[in-house]
Amino acid sequence: MRLDMHMSCVAAGSSGPALFLCHPVISCGVIQFSKILRVKMQNETVKRMATLSVTEDCEQLRKAFAGWGTNEGLIISILAHRNAAQIKSIRQTYAQTYGEDLLKDLNKELSNDFERVVLLWTLDPAERDAFLANEATKRWTSSNQVLVEIACTRTSQQLLLAKQAYHARFKRSLEEDVAYHTSGDFRKLLVPLVGTYRYEGEEVNMTLAKSEAKILHEKISEKAYNHEDVIRILATRSKAQINATLNHYKNEFGNDINKDLKTDPKDEFLAILRATVKCLTRPEKYFEKVLRLAINKRGTDEGALTRVVTTRAEIDMKIIKEEYHKRNSVTLDHAIGKDTTGDYEKMLLALIGHGDA
């Protein structure tokens, strides 16, 4: 799967639209820096240390491409242990030093699953989401889940950055592509989900929670799963409000809403609704399930595995690993080790260990 990236605005270090908006401060990045500090020299300032190590990273990566074949181990040992902000510096410095785009060089040198995981990881989180979302709009219905995942597990700010990256890269809005490539009930649900800019406060209106739980129950009992109000509630309410509503739903009506949405296991729309609910309320459980199904599937679903690992490595991989261990009695590391091989396996394992460094 070739990823054709147009990154010249990154390479030039220009302030191109959207790609350089705030990155989350990653505490593990600070830990990486201090490790390098301790290991290398003692009395340099952090700033100089940071510049030196970025230059070194670029040299090493360049070396990894030199000659016949590629030193994948070296690529993993560098890129898997850098956070988004550091990778951005590396890309800029690489472009300035060698006049070439790191992503293009990676693209040339690597292949298949390994390539995809490295390339996805090297992308800025917002660009990554934009890329995955765009890919999802071009495929068939099984990719609607990816759109739900991106729209519902990201924070409002992360989703906004993804949309800005989408404008910059694809010269269209995410909403227009999702609307154009979906139809019927899926469009009714997905367009509002990607279009929303949810309120992120913790305030909850209990009266509203009760009345909206009642509406949901009513519509579900009538099998009116695509009803405007069901979609309105899931697509526009804040996550805190939705949590309160669904808690009330369970208290009042006895079942988890997803249990009531399981009436027809083959119905794809119901599956997407359930995914929406899960992503909004228990993302770590949602991701655990995606990983479990990807690994247990005959032949492994590398697409899903790569996607979850690269998009959650810096976010909540630790919690997802705990969920995985709880649910499957083996660690995620063990499961990935058994199910994948070679450089692909090494990169995945390095990434899921990322947050623990």
């Binding site: 949309k163 809005s173 154009y180 279009g195 929303t196 526009t236």
Partner: protein
């Protein structure tokens, strides 16, 4: 003894847009009790003779005066406000007022740039602890809900790139939906809503152009019956046309408070953006300059404030 021209001047200062503070001070301020009594007796449109032998202010006119006195204050407060807070408050107010005011939501959501609308949505979070889309979806239950939710949620691509083939095909889609209006209300047509709420403005302008080529008429002429759609299309493609129309309506003799408020709203919200184009469009449409119209129809400090706003940058 008060003169009849003073009566006239004072009456004028109590009518129309805004109040003429100077006349009130120079005329009314100096009148004695008897002069004021004569005025009350001589002004049946404002005062009625009560059975208990006094001239009573007409309640409705007092309410009218309240609006007129407040015009300057409202304009000043709105003008000083951050544009994001301004747009958030305008949309909230419109939502609370009900269907008659929904056009304001369309106006704000469609004439602002993507970044301006995003800012307004952020401000809305801070001011009202909800997202604008959740409030619009919750409070609006009629046929325009889908359109309005889509419009306030939009985050349009702002670059110039347009796919002409798709624009052409979407112009045909819109044409078909409009022709089918008697069977299905176009405002509830999925494709119409999709196109109007997600496509970029340059793309919509291309659709406008292709529509005219296919059909011979401008799409907003064909949409005349579908008020919200017509306004949406105008706001998205030719906002100056829309704004000059709204201004024209504000000056009508039978304009209600809602129409008159638009004078403040349009001038304050567009003074930094496309006021020049709006003035040109107004002149073209009504044959008189906007400044002259304001000079004639508006009173006092409110008039001066508006004229100052629209004269900036000249």
């Amino acid at each position: 003894m008060a003169l009849s021209h003073e009566f006239q001047a004072l009456t004028k200062s109590f009518s129309g847009f805004g109040v003429d503070e100077k006349s009130m001070i120079s005329i009314l301020g100096k009148w004695h009790q008897d002069d004021r009594k004569s005025y009350r007796k001589g002004c049946p449109q404002f005062f009625t003779q009560d059975d208990r032998l006094f001239e009573k202010w007409d309640d409705r006119h007092v309410a009218f005066l309240k609006h007129e006195f407040l015009r300057l204050k409202n304009a000043v407060v709105l003008w000083t406000m951050h544009p994001w807070e301004r747009d958030a408050r305008l949309m909230k107010e419109a939502l609370v007022k009900g269907p008659q005011a929904y056009a304001v939501i369309i106006e704000v959501a469609s004439t602002r740039s993507s970044e301006q609308l995003l800012g307004a949505r952020r401000a809305y979070h801070s001011l009202f602890d909800h997202s604008i889309e959740e409030d619009v979806a919750y409070h609006i239950n009629d046929s325009c809900r889908k359109l309005l939710v889509g419009l306030v949620s939009s985050y349009r691509y702002e670059g110039p790139k347009v796919n002409e083939e798709i624009a052409k095909s979407e112009a045909k889609t819109l044409f078909a939906a409009i022709k089918n209006a008697d069977k299905k209300n176009p405002i509830e047509d999925e494709e119409v809503v999709r196109i109007l709420t997600t496509r970029s403005k340059p793309h919509l302008k291309a659709i406008f152009k292709h529509y005219k080529e296919i059909n011979g008429k401008n799409i907003d002429e064909d949409l005349d019956d579908e008020l919200s759609l017509d306004e949406t299309m105008q706001c998205l493609c030719t906002p100056q046309t829309y704004f000059s129309k709204v201004l024209g309506a504000a000056f009508q003799n039978d304009a209600d408070e809602h129409a008159k408020e638009a004078l403040t709203r349009v001038i304050v919200t567009r003074a930094d953006d496309d006021m020049k184009e709006i003035k040109e469009e107004y002149q073209k449409k009504y044959g008189v300059s906007l400044s002259k119209k304001i000079e004639d129809a508006v009173n006092g400090n409110y008039k001066d404030f508006l004229l100052t706003l629209i004269a900036r940058g000249e």
